[in-house]
């Protein structure tokens, strides 16, 4: 089986005035289809940069990033947008729902940019909204929903385009522990249904829910294995 996500000696260097910041420094790793991986690290460890590159929001300075076998580093702005649209489902810490659009309108967005017709969009969006258990809120505005419900809308939006990878950036960061747990259970459920899930977090307890942990520090991978292994490792 070919890896879905592969970093090959990948570096991302930011120029901060005079000094170079190596946010990710010569990193190599693979994520297989159907895996549930947590990328863990403290702030400044490079995990946000990893997430931006995996999500095709940014391109590496050097090295290669292959998503579904395609080298993403050579793509331009619009090609990256198309890859994000087709292959990546984002779940953000702050939900990032558009406040003026209904639940349906928000979930429809990726399908709109994919060029689906109105009826196809409504059908597919309704399906995923039902899946996250918000069928009765379909015409509500985000402001009329609780935080946990809003995050479930963003999960539905991530699922809508049937992407290759679901990329969740601190999905529970803005939620209380109870609703956070519910969202994590939802992600676990999605994984069990065959989706590839990549979770970015600083929280070891949350990372422990994943199949595999990739721990970062100063732009390097310091651990790559199952949660059990990590416990014994430490």
């Amino acid at each position: 089986m070919k890896p879905l996500i592969e970093f090959r000696d990948l570096s991302k260097i930011y120029q901060m005035g005079e000094t170079e910041v190596r946010a990710v420094d010569g990193m190599s790793m693979q994520i297989m289809p159907g895996e549930f991986v947590a990328i863990v690290g403290q702030s400044g460890s490079g995990k946000s940069t990893c997430m931006n590159i995996i999500g095709c929001l940014d391109v590496p300075t050097s090295g290669n990033y292959f998503l579904g076998g395609q080298d993403v580093g050579e793509l331009d702005d619009d090609e990256l947008a198309e890859i994000r649209n087709k292959m990546v489902g984002f779940i953000f810490q702050q939900y990032n729902l558009l406040p003026k659009l209904s639940v349906l309108g928000n979930v429809e967005l990726p399908l709109l940019y994919a060029g689906l017709s109105k009826s196809e969009r409504v059908e597919q969006a309704t399906k995923v909204i039902t899946k996250v258990g918000l069928a009765d809120k379909i015409n509500n505005l985000p402001s009329q929903l609780s935080g946990g419900q809003q995050q479930r809308v963003s999960v539905a939006r991530a699922l809508a385009g049937n992407p290759s990878v679901i990329l969740a950036d601190e999905p529970t960061g803005a939620l209380d522990s109870k609703t956070g747990k519910e969202v994590l259970e939802l992600l676990t459920k999605l994984h069990s249904e065959g989706n590839t899930v990549v979770l970015i977090t600083h929280d070891n307890d949350i990372a422990g829910q994943a199949q595999r942990i990739i721990r970062l520090e100063d732009g390097h991978i310091i651990f790559n294995g199952t949660p059990d292994q990590e416990v014994t490792h430490i």
């Binding site: 619009d78 947008a81 940019y113």
Partner: protein, 398 residues
């Protein structure tokens, strides 16, 4: 994503910020209103001019002979011969002999009444019509009969509508009133077009002591032959005087077209100035769109993260700007028509003239097209800025 969806989004965004959108549109609205009213006023003015010139006769040529101070002159007979020689161009001619002097009816003197000696065709050429009696005939001219045709003012004010058969005195000579004309102007007043007396030119010339009549009116077969007819008279007079300064041929049609083109130039300049406010309105739209792009940076980031390409974002903002501008244009057209109506009424009341401010469809369509174009033009820059936002920065934007 199709245009219709972008348009829907634009409408909902404009509606969500009603006051701001209206203020943004204001520049465009004012510009469109100004263009429509000014062009309408120009059309009205031109129509008014054409109408008033038409009533004076655009199928006439007026010839004034100044002479050269020498013995050379052109006789009335020669002028009549021109009509006989070129019947396909010149249909009629009448001398015009203005007669200064006192007009008396009974013992009362009329100080503003104009007295003119004319030929027998003068009435038809000037499109006067008779209320009663008859006009001057050839026989009156030939025999120098002391007969007069009077205008409606004199008939109404001095004879209580029964002037026919009465008499009046011009420079002491007694004249019999043989005809009464219908009113020429809307307002019959002293010194106006209806305060006039017409007598045979032969009588007037004798009374004034004029040997050679210096002013003639020619009737032209039709208005398209003004140039040729003028040339015929010009050739004749040049033959006699050998000097173009010795006479002058005035055509109202030429005068009218000259004045029309002057009005056109004036209106074009005014409309262009009004058009500047459209540009100012466009800059207002650009300004607000830039603000809007900043405010919606996060939204743009989210949309880009979800797969919006540059052209999607560009299209969304350009259409929003164009829609704002076009709605402003439509409001402006509505107001422009309303204001044109109002202006027409005000002009009637204030100036007592019937100048209709006629808002033209072409001006309205033009103004609308320009406002939509300005929206696209000035919306493009902010839209491009939005389209080029880096999604990471945009997502981080608070």
């Amino acid at each position: 994503m199709n245009l219709f969806k972008s348009f829907q989004m634009a409408i909902s965004n404009i509606w969500a910020r009603k006051v701001r959108s209206l203020l943004t549109m204001l520049g465009i609205i004012i510009g469109v209103v100004a263009v429509i009213v000014i062009v309408g006023l120009g059309n009205g003015l031109e129509k008014y001019m054409v109408d008033s010139f038409k009533s004076m006769g655009t199928d006439l040529l007026t010839v004034n002979v100044v002479g050269r101070g020498s013995a050379r002159t052109v006789s009335t007979e020669e002028m009549y011969e021109l009509v006989d020689d070129y019947p396909e161009y010149l249909t009629s001619v009448s001398p015009q002999v203005p007669l200064g002097g006192k007009v008396k009816i009974g013992n009362e003197a009329l100080s503003y009444t104009s007295v003119t000696g004319t030929g027998e065709d003068f009435m038809i050429m000037k499109k006067f019509s008779l209320e009663s009696g008859r006009y001057i005939r050839y026989v009156d001219i030939d025999r120098r009969n002391n007969v007069a045709v009077v205008g409606a003012y004199i008939n109404n004010e001095w004879f209580r509508g029964e002037a026919l058969g009465k008499t009046l005195r011009i420079n002491g000579q007694l004249f019999e009133i043989i005809g009464v004309l219908n009113a020429e102007t809307d307002e019959i007043e002293e010194g106006g077009g209806d305060d006039a007396i017409y007598i045979p030119y032969s009588v007037a010339a004798k009374s004034a002591g004029v040997r050679n009549i210096s002013s003639y009116v020619f009737g032209i077969a039709n208005e398209d032959l003004v140039k040729e007819s003028k040339q015929i008279i010009d050739d004749k007079l040049y033959d006699v005087f050998g000097d173009q300064d010795a006479y002058r041929i005035i055509s109202l049609t030429e005068l009218l077209s000259m004045m029309s083109s002057m009005v056109d130039i004036m209106i074009t300049i005014l409309a262009a100035i009004a058009g500047i406010s459209l540009v100012v309105g466009g800059i207002g739209i650009m300004n607000i769109m830039l603000v809007s792009v900043s405010e919606r940076t996060r939204e743009i980031g989210i949309r880009k993260a979800l797969g919006a390409k540059r052209h999607h974002i560009l299209q969304q903002f350009v259409i929003e700007a164009a829609t704002t501008s076009a709605i402003g244009g439509l409001i402006g057209i509505g107001l422009g028509y309303a204001l044109s109506d109002l202006a027409s009424k005000i002009i009637v009341v204030a100036l007592e003239e019937e100048i209709v401010v006629a808002a033209s469809t072409s001006a309205a369509l033009g103004a609308f097209a320009i406002s939509a174009f300005i929206g696209i033009l000035f919306g493009y820059l902010p839209a491009r800025k939005a389209a080029r936002l880096n999604p990471i920065d945009a997502l981080r934007y608070e």
